[in-house]
């Protein structure tokens, strides 16, 4: 878990520089460009998470105990926020992902984007990521 929190704290530190909303969003958009893009073969209805406002595709890969995510969105701000989530969660242990408390979202002022009523697909995506963590974890337990 501490690895996830370390990354969260890093992000909070990075975002401290911005006192203007627009600068903050420019940075988020930049982050979006670093997003490990989902393979085109996964950009289908099966992997889509539909929001009313924007669409998100998400794919998860298990490597040992660790879960790696790739994703994409048709809106670039959504994409930037996904990039933050992936930076924090991807490559971490399934059990840590399942349990993670993502306090950084609130701290850097993005809470609204993950509100249940925002319907941009992000909250559903986050739930999906945690679900992958949970499933992978329980599989791991069964295997072990």
């Amino acid at each position: 878990m501490s690895d996830i929190n370390k990354k969260q704290d890093e992000l909070i530190e990075e975002f401290k520089f911005f006192d203007d909303w627009m600068d903050k969003y420019e940075y988020i958009i930049e982050m979006g460009k670093t997003l490990p893009l989902i393979g085109e073969q996964y950009k289908t209805e099966d992997y889509i998470i539909k929001g009313c406002q924007s669409r998100v595709w998400l794919h998860a890969d298990m490597k040992g105990e660790h879960v790696h995510f790739t994703a994409d969105s048709d809106a670039i701000i959504t994409k930037g926020i996904i990039a933050l989530l992936i930076r924090v969660l991807s490559g971490e242990k399934a059990s840590d992902i399942a349990k993670a408390d993502l306090y950084f979202i609130d701290k850097i002022g993005l809470k609204e984007h993950l509100s249940p009523t925002r319907s941009n697909g992000l909250l559903s995506m986050l739930k999906q990521m945690k679900m992958y963590g949970l499933v992978a974890d329980s599989k791991g337990l069964v295997d072990g």
Binding site: C52, Q53, E112, S115, P116, T117, R118, S119, N120
Partner: protein, 416 residues
């Protein structure tokens, strides 16, 4: 024991102070201070409720859902918070089991139409009772007529209590719905709905409870009751007009077809095929009554602060005091004398017409309701054209009843 008495007294004293929360109670009527005894028709509103509505419009209003801007987000959060407030008020399992409607009447019509479409067939039966409000009779008559089903009416005795033997004899596999009043608006009878639900569930029959009169007076726990549907109106429980709630168990609501078509209730629309949104939105087509849902939540918070147990006890005291007082008037005939009664006194005096009594009470500043109270079949059952009804809210006090007694005495003198 003594400590308990003291505590009760202090609660009662506190509830006495609540009267000043209701600006309208300062009014004069025909030169006399208003005594408002018609809360069963519609209660008055405390300032916190009307201020919550105004404050919502002055600070937060925007259309809800799907807005990306902050104001819309705030409005949506406020609206959904109201839903959560209602959920915990009635102890629903899920917030999406709380559907906002205009009021009790719309809620019952929604169920009669949507559930009826899916589950009621020719030759089926729907059970109601003699003491139902028109709003819990006519929608079922309409669906029965449409579907060729039959309406069965459970008897009520002279005291105004539902005949459970008759109810039992009417339950059968043909019955597709039982719809019953929780508290009679005309008689005040508190009906044994828990028992009736259990009896219906033995045959897997769902039960709709008309809670219009119950939510302002007693704590409702829809899970403990195991009610399949529970419906009530905001305006009878210190909340605004134009808002009410249909609670339905998730599995029923999921099985029912949508009611209204329009914005909010859809997932995707093409001219060929429309797919519906999930609960609760499936049943909330169009822009909801956002401001009044917030007003209703404020009313629930207000009630919660005082405590429904305190309110019940207070109204019970009023009922006992008022019944004693009025029974000394010659020719007094109470309509509705059930053992379990809420804060409603319906009566006739000799053969004086209720309208005459109502008019002369009004001239003395006393507001009571007269007539059939939207329960004509119940009036037919008693063979009377109507009653005079005094009904209580948390703001009433013993003085109100003293005033009623005096005014009634004078009216009866003139009229007989």
């Amino acid at each position: 024991m003594e400590a308990f008495d003291v505590d009760t007294t202090s609660m009662k004293n506190r509830i006495g102070e609540r009267r000043k929360d209701f600006p309208i109670l300062q009014r004069q009527m025909n030169g006399k201070p208003l005594v408002f005894l018609d809360s069963a028709a519609s209660s008055q509103k405390p300032d916190v409720v009307t201020s919550a509505i105004k404050s919502y419009y002055d600070k937060t209003h925007a259309n809800v859902h799907r807005g990306v801007y902050q104001l819309s987000q705030e409005a949506t959060d406020a609206f959904e918070k109201s839903r959560a407030t209602i959920q915990s008020f009635i102890n629903a399992k899920h917030s999406h089991e709380v559907i906002f409607v205009r009021g009790c009447t719309e809620g019952i019509n929604l169920v009669a139409s949507s559930y009826g479409d899916a589950f009621i067939r020719e030759g089926d039966e729907v059970i109601i009772t003699t003491l139902e409000h028109h709003s819990n009779i006519v929608p079922w008559q309409m669906v029965c007529e449409k579907k060729g089903a039959n309406l069965k009416v459970v008897h009520v005795d002279e005291a105004g209590e539902i005949d459970l033997d008759d109810y039992k004899s009417k339950l059968s596999s043909k019955v597709k719905m039982v719809a019953v009043n929780h508290i009679s608006n005309t008689l005040g009878t508190i009906n044994p709905v828990k028992q009736m639900i259990d009896m219906a569930h033995e045959l897997d029959i769902p039960v709709l409870v008309d809670g219009a009169q119950a939510t302002p007076h007693m704590k409702i726990d829809v899970q403990a009751l195991d009610a399949d549907f529970y419906v009530f109106s905001g305006h009878k429980m210190y909340g605004p007009t134009g808002i009410g709630v249909l609670y339905g168990k998730e599995h029923w609501l999921n099985k029912m077809p949508p009611y209204h078509g329009g914005g909010e209730m859809i997932k995707t629309v093409t001219f060929e095929k429309t797919t519906y949104n999930e609960l609760p939105f499936k049943f909330e087509a169009g822009t909801p009554n956002i401001a009044d849902s917030i007003g209703l939540a404020a009313a629930v918070d207000y009630i919660g602060e005082i405590g429904l147990d305190v309110i019940s006890e207070h109204e019970n005291d009023l009922l006992n005091y008022g019944t004693d007082l009025l029974s000394s008037i010659e020719g007094m005939r109470f309509i509705g004398t059930a053992k379990a009664k809420a804060g409603v006194i319906s009566f006739l005096v000799g053969d004086i017409h209720p309208y005459d009594i109502g008019t002369l009470l009004d001239k003395q500043g006393i507001a009571v309701r007269t007539g059939h109270h939207c329960t004509q079949p119940l009036m037919d059952h008693y063979g009377i054209p109507g009653t005079v009804r005094a009904s209580f809210g948390l703001y009433n006090n013993m003085e109100d009843l003293d005033r009623l007694y005096e005014a009634l005495t004078r009216a009866v003198n003139i009229l007989s």
